[in-house]
């Protein structure tokens, strides 16, 4: 599209958006409709009805558990689709092979030194998602980023050999499977799909299991996508 026509279209879109956004209440006003109806109920319900002192985790896993199940399925299907698209034989017409530059020894040493601390931090964020900012997916992306750093420092093939065969398959599918299992448990104990039981140690254990499964599953999916893209 020619830049002039595109500028015209973009200008029209900007005018329409601004006309709509100016009519909204000011950002930060405490009595806007976004703060009053459903959010006020969630904040008043508190950690008793919600299941966690961190209200974002309570919303993600308890009030809107079905949406989180959909999100976990989306990222798993992205992994499957990437593996299917990149599965055919490589090197049919590439111009020149990519040159492998080893990272400098300082970078490699620092990454290997920091990797256990990164893993410990990721585990802490995953487990303490109920009462501190954090939760399942936050810990999972830190773990995935650690895997990418290790692959850059140690070579991609060594990292790909770390988890092989059947274990790789089950770890990648961990998040949807555990979620479905918790949905069944919820149906058995409360009569609703994804319904968590009343306050108590059983509900805390279920929330912890969900957090760990989402974290580990998300990290395995992101590492899998990275390993597929960096294969050649």
């Amino acid at each position: 599209m020619r830049p002039a026509i595109a500028a015209l279209v973009v200008g029209l879109v900007a005018l329409v958006l601004l006309a709509g956004l100016i009519a909204l209440p000011e950002p930060g006003a405490p009595d806007s409709p976004a703060q009053r109806h459903v959010s006020a109920e969630y904040i008043d319900g508190g950690s008793q009805a919600g299941g966690a002192a961190n209200l974002v985790t309570a919303v993600l896993l308890n009030y809107r558990g079905l949406d989180t199940f959909g999100e976990v399925l989306v990222i798993f299907s992205a992994l499957v689709a990437v593996l299917v698209v990149l599965a055919s034989a490589p090197q049919t017409g590439s111009a020149q092979p990519a040159q492998r530059l080893a990272p400098s020894p300082v970078v490699a040493f620092i990454v290997r030194l920091m990797a256990p601390f990164m893993a410990a931090f990721a585990a802490f964020v995953m487990i303490s998602g109920a009462h501190l900012p954090g939760g399942g997916f936050q810990g999972g992306v830190v773990l995935g980023a650690m895997t990418i750093l290790l692959a850059v420092a140690m070579g991609r093939d060594r990292v790909a050999r770390m988890l092989r065969g059947g274990a790789r398959f089950w770890v990648r599918a961990a998040a949807p499977l555990v979620f479905a299992l918790v949905a069944l448990i919820g149906w058995a104990s409360t009569g609703w799909w994804f319904g968590l039981p009343g306050p108590g140690p059983f509900r805390d254990a279920l929330v912890l299991a969900l957090d760990i499964a989402i974290g580990v599953g998300g990290a395995a999916v992101l590492a899998g996508i990275f390993l597929a893209l960096s294969r050649e």
Binding site: A53, N54, V56, R64, V74, I75, S77
Partner: protein, 118 residues
């Protein structure tokens, strides 16, 4: 004009969204178009989180030492799901771009359309 200054966050989000849309429309390189799409997605996330913000509000943690005014937790949960979906879409688009380059040798859209005979 006063209304524009009062809603300065929303004006900035609109400018970022429209720049992303311009990149998506004008640039012919598929990877640049994907960057433009990511910019549009993050602008929408910024807008959603800003609607849940309260002046002098605290993060939505009920541990007992944070004040009476909380930011709303619902937009934060929506944006978390949105970030996951954005990562999925980006990774699948990158895999498709690598495949297109393998098959045709180029990722410029006008060259791909010319090659197709249009």
């Amino acid at each position: 004009m006063d209304a524009l200054l009062a809603h300065l966050d929303y004006v900035a989000v609109t400018i970022v969204f429209c720049t992303g849309l311009y990149i998506l429309l004008v640039r012919q390189n598929l990877l640049k178009k994907l960057i433009g799409l990511n910019i549009m997605e993050t602008a929408v996330f910024a807008f959603i989180v800003t609607t849940g913000m309260v002046d002098d509000g605290d993060p939505p943690l009920l541990t007992g030492e944070l004040g009476p005014l909380f930011a709303s937790p619902l937009p934060h949960a929506l944006v978390l799901t949105g970030i996951v979906v954005a990562v999925s879409v980006t990774s699948l688009a990158l895999a498709l771009i690598v495949r297109v380059h393998r098959e045709h040798g180029t990722i410029e859209l006008d060259e791909l359309l010319d090659r197709d005979g249009r």
